[in-house]
């Protein structure tokens, strides 16, 4: 069990986190015809927007209530109303996801009350558009929390009980899954003849679709009608511990049983996932999926040579960190440094590392330097640390802005893990250093070992 420690620094250096409203907006981007709306000053939106664009290389519909000096002092309800009406009129969205920011939360207003009265007063004008509110101050949480809150809010405001649909299942993917991962989940469900409602579904909206006409909203994702229907599903599968809450909400409201998969990066959990789909659909596991499983075991056999004894430093949000720690440890590597964004997640206890630091990329770099490290695993901002440590850098999570196509990288299920094994092994093979007489000289080696006292042999 990992020991969880908080970084004691006053100044966060090279932050690992992205903000909570960004996480909520990210989830709303997975709903068809939606526009996320930041209730805050313009900058809150534009920084998030730029980061999204850098990661996805897509147009991102993201709007702002553009709080100014006067509204900051007198109250933002008018700005919220105006923004909603303008958005409705100009973009005809099916859903507006209102994400609060630190500015308005610090000011402290009754957003829910304001929004209820706006909806009441403007019922006719706003007909056909759902408005969902999430409270996501920047000063708390990170992407995971924002994402969970947005999905929970969607469930609370839209999902209703109804007649059971035997082949319909809800899939609640966590924020750490890529577009390709979501597609893979859909295809896998389809292979069993199941009809999945994926909430949210970024695979439709952030997968680089080129639409026939200009759309000011998201042009894919989970349709609002489908979200309403989620209460009629036979089962809910949540992927990532942070999706437990929305799954629970669906169960409470509509009596849909659920199961949480804390990761789909290990052979055993993937087996459980596939077996669950088989049981839900009353169908045998299709041949192509059984083949994929074979391919993964072979990849594990071929790949484990490269992982054995390697030290890995991971900086990621809790669920991604946990999944990756299981992935690396399962192949014989050691997670020598683990840094995450938030202490709230129960999954942190299960991270396969001696300790987990809630901190920043400076902490990651320091711990990697102290404990030894053969690979830095974090988002693109970790590139400076990797460079200084002189080791390769596997880019995971959000944002990845200095590599294109990262949304199409599969990281879960048999084929995703298979590919990930190869990617990591190839990073190491590419960075292989030729031996030199100096590096192997036993006498020089001893004098080096004396100077940096490291325990040997390494225990697993």
């Amino acid at each position: 069990m990992a020991k969880i420690v908080l970084s004691g620094k006053a100044a966060a250096v090279n932050p690992l986190k992205s903000s909570q409203p960004l996480g909520a907006a990210f989830a709303f981007l997975g709903i068809e015809g939606s526009v996320p709306l930041f209730h805050g000053s313009q900058g809150c939106t534009s920084f998030a927007l730029v980061l999204f664009v850098r990661h996805f290389k897509e147009t991102i519909p993201l709007q702002t209530t553009a709080m100014d000096e006067v509204s900051t002092i007198l109250g933002g309800a008018d700005h919220l109303e105006e923004a909603i009406l303008n958005l409705k009129q100009r973009t005809q969205p099916k859903l507006i996801g209102v994400c609060t920011t630190a500015l308005v939360e610090t000011r402290g207003e009754d957003f829910a009350g304001d929004l209820a009265s706006i909806k009441l007063r403007r019922a006719a004008e706003l007909a056909g558009t759902e408005i969902v509110l999430v409270s996501t101050p920047d000063f708390d949480g990170a992407i995971e929390e924002g994402w969970t809150k947005a999905v929970s809010a969607l469930v609370e405001s839209l999902v209703a009980p109804g007649e059971r649909m035997a082949r319909q299942v809800n899939i609640l993917p966590g924020s750490h899954l890529t577009v390709a991962d979501v597609e893979l989940l859909r295809d896998t469900c389809a292979a069993f003849g199941l009809d999945p409602i994926i909430l949210p579904d970024i695979s439709g909206s952030l997968d680089g679709t080129i639409p026939e006409k200009w759309l000011p909203t998201t042009y894919g994702g989970t349709p609002v009608a489908c979200i309403r229907n989620a209460g009629r599903s036979a089962f809910t599968i949540a992927i990532g511990e942070h999706m437990r809450r929305p799954a629970q909400l669906i169960q409470e409201r509509c009596d849909v049983p659920f199961m949480v998969f804390d990761q789909l990066t290990g052979l055993k959990s993937i087996d459980r996932f596939i077996a669950l789909l088989s049981e839900l659909s009353r169908q045998p596991v299709p041949a192509q999926i059984r083949r994929r499983r074979n391919q993964l075991t072979d990849a594990m056999l071929d790949g484990h040579f490269h992982f054995a004894g390697k030290k890995v430093a991971i900086g990621a949000e809790p669920d991604l960190l946990f999944g990756l720690s299981a992935f690396f440890a399962g192949l014989g590597a050691e997670v020598s440094a683990a840094v995450t964004t938030s202490a709230h997640s129960s999954v942190l206890d299960r991270v396969i590392s001696e300790r987990v630091t809630v901190g920043d990329l400076r902490d990651l770099e320091d711990e990697a330097g102290a404990n030894g490290c053969d690979l830095v695993v974090t988002h693109s901002h970790g590139r400076q640390a990797a460079e200084r440590l002189g080791v390769p850098h596997l880019r995971v999570g959000f944002p990845i802005f200095d590599r294109i196509g990262s949304q199409y990288r599969r990281t879960i299920l048999y084929e995703g893990v298979r590919d990930l094994i190869f990617e990591v092994a190839n990073l190491w093979q590419g960075a292989l250093q030729q031996p030199t007489p100096e590096s192997l000289d036993p006498f020089l080696k001893r004098s080096r070992e004396v100077s940096d006292e490291r325990p040997s042999p390494s225990t697993h």
Partner: protein, 503 residues
């Protein structure tokens, strides 16, 4: 003539295998007739190239159609501390027209000239191959002519593939060195403690783990043949006082002839294993003193040995607990088997079998002494038997070369590469500790338990066991799809797991 050369090589008096034979048998030579359709291993050209190519500053030119070099270049893990010309691949890449029109020799001469001009190597080695030998290209004449006109050593290596095995090729490479290279340069700094190490390939740079041990004793490695060697050092190798022969069967003719021609005594030793490394240092010191080196070398050597052995055993101690009782299957040829056996047994591992395919009688005797149990030695094992043995869990790890790697992996058994493609250096005291560390790593990798776990469904994809009965609330709306199940059951009726080609 090549024929005479081969007969001559076969009559190796220093080879104990050869000496054990009768007169008639000896005449037949030692190449076992290969079994078409059931042969494995490389040809004589392969052997010759392996034995010479790690000489790092030489341009190695293969006179052949593409396959001989094109399919085999840059495939070995020898390391160089300087030039990397040896890793640049040169071949005459003969075309059909070249062969039909007899333009091979001309093309070869031109190729030699091009290489000399562009790369200016200290020497060029020219290898003959099956096709060029068959069409009668006289590489010796071409090399002589090229050497005269270019003013640089151009060495013919006459070992076409069809003449025999890889091992024969090793020996023919030794002949090329003795005929054309060694003794062609007189160094100014020859000293009383110079030695050569023959048959050391410096795989993964492992000789660099041993060289400092010699240097600490004031012993200079004049030439390590071929690993990380320079042409000039090999050319001056005759001035060394002692030869250590590492890979016993590869260059034995070279060692014996150097003894005959220049009076350089040789001994056979190994850097694999703690006691073997000590023995190699001890023998070197003893022979050097016999040849006039200062007598205190022996006492200094003993001091170094006791210090290094103490360190190595201390470093191995923590592994004893982790590895005691673990069963090793050694599937490798030659000298490696007995020298590693003793060290593995020292950390408490059990040797469940060792291959003696390339071992000499002496090797076998040593293994017998160590293991006190004959049945554990096998000549060679069919892949099927090897697979069965590993799949049945009769060994915890197999140490072998890359060729049998996948037998172990498909049997989901830990495997460690101890041949030429490996990435870890295992020579000397530190190397033995490294080997044990790698064995520990391989065995303790959690991947084995994971991949051995069967899928929770049968060969036809039907889930076995009540995996989720509790998790899923009974779903009364959906009846089991009887027709579907019946259909698939029919489809797969009477099929076994093997028919499915799965799992």
């Amino acid at each position: 003539m090549l024929k005479d050369k081969i007969a001559h090589v076969f009559e190796e008096p220093a080879c104990d295998k050869n000496q054990a034979k009768g007169e008639k048998e000896r005449k037949k030579g030692c190449s076992k007739p290969l079994t078409p359709g059931a042969a494995a291993g490389g040809c004589a050209f392969d052997g010759a190239k392996i034995a010479l190519q790690p000489i790092t500053d030489v341009a190695h030119l293969i006179h052949a159609p593409l396959a001989c070099e094109g399919n085999s270049w840059d495939n070995r893990g020898a390391a160089s501390s300087g030039p990397d010309l040896w890793r640049t691949s040169f071949t005459t890449d003969l075309s059909e027209l070249d062969i039909v029109m007899g333009r091979g020799e001309k093309k070869l001469l031109k190729a030699i000239r091009e290489i000399a001009e562009r790369y200016a190597p200290p020497a060029i080695f020219v290898y003959s191959t099956c096709v060029t030998a068959l069409i009668g290209d006289d590489i010796e004449a071409v090399c002589r002519h090229a050497a005269e006109t270019l003013g640089l050593p151009v060495v013919p290596v006459n070992a076409p593939g069809f003449v025999g095995s890889k091992n024969l090729g090793n020996k023919l490479a030794g002949e090329a060195l003795i005929d054309h290279v060694i003794g062609t340069r007189e160094p100014e700094d020859a000293g009383p403690t110079d030695i050569n190490v023959l048959g050391e390939f410096n795989l993964s740079g492992e000789f660099w783990m041993v060289k400092p041990l010699f240097e600490r004793l004031g012993i200079r490695i004049r030439a390590s043949v071929p690993g990380d060697a320079r042409y000039a050092d090999v050319a001056a190798a005759h001035t060394a006082r002692v030869n250590m022969m590492v890979c016993s069967t590869a260059l034995i003719n070279l060692a014996r002839k150097m003894d005959e021609r220049w009076g350089i005594p040789f001994f056979e030793g190994s850097f694999y294993g703690i006691s073997d490394t000590s023995e190699a240092l001890r023998q070197t010191a003893r022979l050097l003193v016999e040849r006039g080196a200062p007598g205190d070398l022996v006492t200094r050597c003993e001091a170094l040995i006791s210090d290094e052995e103490r360190r190595a055993w201390a470093a191995l101690a923590p592994y004893r607990e982790r590895l005691a009782g673990k069963r090793v299957l050694l599937n490798t040829g030659g000298v490696k088997s007995w020298s590693v056996v003793s060290a593995l047994m020292e950390v408490g591992m059990e040797i469940v079998g060792t291959s003696i395919k390339k071992s000499t009688d002496e090797d076998k005797e040593r293994i017998r002494e160590l293991m006190k149990d004959d049945p554990h030695m096998f000549e060679s094992m069919a892949p099927r038997d090897l697979y069965r043995m590993l799949a049945d869990g009769e060994a915890d790890i197999m140490l072998s070369g890359g060729r049998t790697q996948f037998i172990a992996l498909k049997a989901k058994t830990p495997w460690l590469d101890i041949n030429q493609e490996r990435h870890h250096p295992y020579a000397g005291y530190d190397g033995m500790v490294e080997l044990v560390r790698q064995i520990d790593r391989a065995i303790s990798n959690p991947v084995w338990a994971t991949v051995r776990e069967p899928a929770p469904w049968d060969a036809a994809g039907y889930c076995v066991g009540p995996a989720f009965q509790q998790a899923i609330t009974p779903n009364h709306d959906m009846e089991p799809d009887v027709s579907f199940v019946a259909h698939t059951r029919r489809k797969f009726a009477a099929m076994g797991a093997d028919d499915m080609g799965e799992c």
